[in-house]
């Protein structure tokens, strides 16, 4: 009895065309697109006091900006209308990578105290995103926060005690 594996090998050897396999591209969430995530990061920092935020505060805002539900929860909490149990901040690991990419691309820098500060390239990125009307939902959300929100405000929001 002929070996099937050998038969297949032989078949391939006789074919004039070569086989090629390509992976089909996969859909990804929009917030993983480099343009989007760096612009979103810039928009958040652009609204912060001194254009600087601690990484954990950045996480809170990143989470708050995520979808309609988190946006309204965040704003309710800010207005003192929610109980601490309601707001469940999820730390999004992709934000850390976004910050890393931002550091590499000189969109942000790490200050001596470890906070993340927006650099001129990032300021420009935020300005152009605003001009083109991109990330409008996110901008509207950020605009509803107090002008140049401070670290202490975010501390207060996270402080359940």
């Amino acid at each position: 009895m002929p070996d099937p594996a050998l038969e297949i090998e032989q078949l391939f050897a006789e074919l004039s065309a070569s086989m090629a396999f390509a992976r089909r591209p996969e859909a990804i969430p929009g917030d993983l697109r480099l343009n989007w995530r760096l612009s979103a990061l810039s928009l958040i920092l652009d609204r912060a006091r001194g254009r600087t935020l601690k990484l954990e505060h950045l996480h809170v805002l990143w989470w708050g900006m995520k979808n309609a539900e988190t946006r309204s929860q965040f704003l309710r909490r800010l207005g003192g209308e929610s109980s601490p149990t309601e707001m469940l901040v999820r730390y999004d690991p992709t934000l850390s990578l976004t910050v890393d990419l931002g550091l590499g691309a000189a969109v942000v820098e790490r200050t001596t105290s470890g906070a993340i500060k927006l650099l001129p390239a990032g300021v420009h990125l935020a300005a152009v995103a605003t001009e083109t009307g991109a990330l409008e939902v996110q901008r509207v959300f950020l605009e509803r926060l107090p002008a140049h929100f401070t670290q202490s405000l975010l501390n207060e929001m996270m402080d359940w005690s």
Binding site: P25, P29, L32, S39, T132
Partner: protein
């Protein structure tokens, strides 16, 4: 008919470090010919008219003064090189009712901004003294619409009620003067390269060449287009009204316990007599509303006719119907339970779908934002965004590398999400339809259960009461029949009212639709066609006169679509010889002028040609043009030609008595020291 605008005079004023220089030109009605050698300042003087009126936007989109160095920088006066310290142009114009104004605008000045235009009323009827100066601004946002804008003033002075036109972005705005003056002014540099070569398109007006021609010729087409837009929006409003009224109809029917058969969902279907027929149930049978009313009325009447039975008499029949009613109520309750569970299930599904759609829509927006942002990478020099290369390790960093190495491109991802959204949205609309049907069913069942229970209560009460007491069942039946009749009659009236509203809507819609069809058949009214055909005739006659030879002149027509000269359906352009193009421009602009003068139109009645003899046009053709212009001048127009033809040659072609010839000596410059 006299023109709407006459140029009476022009003064160029230049203050130099060696003294005051300038020139004053006076223009008459009819043909004016300004003769001077090349580069002596002819074009400058004609452009000065455009500049004084703040119309340099028709020459170029650039925001610089369109005048020669002699007005802005330095001038050679005789043999002396002089520096320009201050300069201005002043033009005196007269409108169709004989009002005269002088308009002055500074070209170079430390004292006055170039955006400022000073207007002084002159001539008879003007305030004698002190001379009142009015100041307006030009070349700034709002100059065409604000009261202090010179173009608002100028349009009123000319007597133009400028139409609103559609801009490229879909908004509406006024037609700008810059798009209308090209019918009266052909400048030397670009004006002779094609028919209406210089209608400014940068102002963002949709179909600007057509809109301006329609205004100049006072065609009905513009109104017809506006009317068409209005009717289209009326039609969509009526469609929306119809939807709402159909919904009202269904709601009324539902409230009255009726279902509608064959509901016309679109207004174009209209409301025929057999559409939206209300049906309801009587004794478990679906019948038309009118029939139900008849049946119930008959049953009520029958019940009333026989004396109310006593409990004893009715007992046997009542116990039978009690059993039946109990069985029915049980089965209805069971079904109701099933329907309710099903509805809760579908409602849960629908809300899941809504959540999913909301999330997808937001994700879709993110991808779209990405596409918007894609162009920015290069702009800000972040290599990460432009090339997707890590700035630190110089390896490729793809979108979504946190999840997969093979992410879709943003465009693919958008298409993918849109397909998903499409599927979810149709699922959702399906769920909603099922929900509607289920809740109608649930209401009907609940109503049946209520009726059965009332019947059971009445039957029980009949069976437990004294034998000679009146049968509660009978009485209750009568009461419930009366209540049903009242409900159904009310519903019938309400439905009839809504039906009549619907019929009105359908009638309005049909009338508007018919008007739209009529308008859509052509934008041109009979009067418009007459004007275009007159222009065509004038054009052909003149082409013949000027020895146009690229085509037989009788084959040149005016396109009803572009209003421009065409041949066999194509606009005439590069297929003509260069000199025939010049002849075509002469003929077209003079024909438009002539037809506007002869028929009611908005043309200024003014035509300025800077060096009409281009491309070595044959002298015989040029002579024919000058004759044509003289005739047009005699017919009431004002024409101003600037030419470098020698005086002798001009005198050979022109009768000096029939035109105003302003001839500079050979070599003489227009700007001269005045002292």
């Amino acid at each position: 008919m006299t023109g709407r605008l006459r140029i009476r005079g022009l003064r160029l004023d230049v203050l130099t470090n060696v003294g005051r220089a300038g020139r004053t030109l006076v223009f008459e009605d009819g043909l004016n010919v300004l003769r001077a050698d090349n580069s002596s300042g002819k074009s400058t003087s004609l452009q000065a008219i455009v500049y004084a009126l703040g119309l340099e936007g028709m020459l170029s989109a650039r925001r610089e003064v369109p005048l020669a160095h002699v007005m802005t920088d330095n001038a050679t006066l005789g043999t002396v090189d002089a520096q320009v310290l201050e300069s201005s142009v002043e033009v005196e114009i007269e409108n169709g009712v004989g009002e005269r104004i002088s308009v002055r605008r500074y070209v170079k000045s430390d004292r006055f901004s170039a955006s400022l235009v000073q207007v002084r009323r002159v001539g008879p009827g003007a305030p004698s003294s002190p001379v009142a100066l009015e100041e307006y601004f030009v070349r700034r946002p709002g100059a065409a619409v604000r009261e202090a804008g010179f173009h608002t003033f100028l349009a009123t002075f000319i007597g133009w009620d400028l139409p609103r036109v559609t801009r490229a972005d879909g908004s509406e705005g006024l037609l700008y003067l810059e798009t209308l003056f090209p019918f009266s002014f052909v400048e030397q540099k670009h004006g002779w390269s094609g028919i209406q070569a210089r209608i400014p398109t940068y102002l963002g007006i949709r179909d600007v060449a057509k809109r301006s021609t329609e205004f100049i010729l006072k065609m009905d087409a513009a109104d017809r287009i506006l009317e068409r837009q209005r009717i289209s929006s009326n039609l969509s409003r009526l469609e929306a009204d119809w939807q709402q009224q159909v919904k009202d109809l269904s709601d009324s029917a539902r409230r009255g316990g009726c279902a509608l058969e064959r509901v016309p969902t679109r207004v174009r279907e209209g409301l025929t007599e057999d559409a939206a027929i209300p049906l309801t149930t009587v004794a478990d049978r679906w019948v038309r509303l009118e029939e139900a009313l008849e049946l119930l009325t008959a049953e009520g009447a029958a019940l009333r006719q026989r004396p109310i039975r006593t409990s004893g008499e009715a007992a046997e029949e009542v116990s039978a119907s009690l059993r039946a009613a109990e069985l029915r109520a049980d089965s209805e309750l069971a079904t109701l339970g099933v329907v309710r569970r099903e509805r809760a299930l579908v409602a849960g599904e629908a809300s899941q779908l809504e959540l999913r759609i909301e999330a997808l829509a937001e994700d879709l927006q993110r991808h779209k934002d990405t596409l918007t942002l894609v162009q920015l990478g290069g702009e800000i020099g972040v290599s990460l965004l432009a090339d997707h290369v890590c700035p630190t390790c110089h390896q490729a960093v793809a979108d979504g590398s946190d999840l997969t190495e093979h992410a879709m491109t943003a465009a693919e991802n958008i298409a993918f999400i849109e397909r998903q959204l499409g599927t979810y949205r149709s699922s959702l609309s399906d769920s909603r339809r099922v929900l509607d049907a289920l809740s109608t069913r649930e209401n009907a069942l609940a109503e049946s259960v209520r009726e059965s229970r009332t019947e059971i209560r009445a039957a029980r009460s009949t069976l437990t009461s004294e034998n000679d007491a009146p049968s509660v069942s009978d009485v209750t039946r009568l009461v419930s029949i009366d209540a049903r009749i009242a409900l159904l009659s009310g519903t019938q009236e309400e439905l009839e009212r809504t039906r009549s509203v619907l019929r009105n809507t359908a009638r309005d819609w049909a009338a508007q639709r018919a008007r739209l069809d009529e308008l859509e058949s052509s934008d041109l009214s009979p009067e418009d066609r007459l004007k275009l055909s007159d222009i065509q005739q004038g054009l052909q006659t003149q082409l013949h006169r000027y020895s146009f030879s690229s085509l037989p002149p009788s084959q040149v027509e005016i396109s009803p679509d572009t209003y421009r000269p065409a041949h066999e359906g194509f606009d005439l352009g590069f297929d003509l010889s260069a000199s025939d193009m010049i002849r075509l421009i002469w003929s077209y602009l003079i024909s438009v002028l002539a037809v506007s003068q002869a028929r009611d139109a908005n043309h200024l009645g003014l035509l300025i040609f800077d060096e009409p003899r281009q491309q070595e046009t044959a002298i015989a053709s040029y002579q024919a043009l000058l004759q044509q212009a003289t005739e047009q001048g005699a017919a009431g127009s004002q024409l101003i030609f600037a030419t470098s033809e020698t005086e002798q040659s001009l005198l050979g072609m022109l009768d000096p008595a029939s035109c105003n010839l302003i001839a500079l000596a050979p070599g003489e410059k227009l700007i001269q020291l005045l002292d």
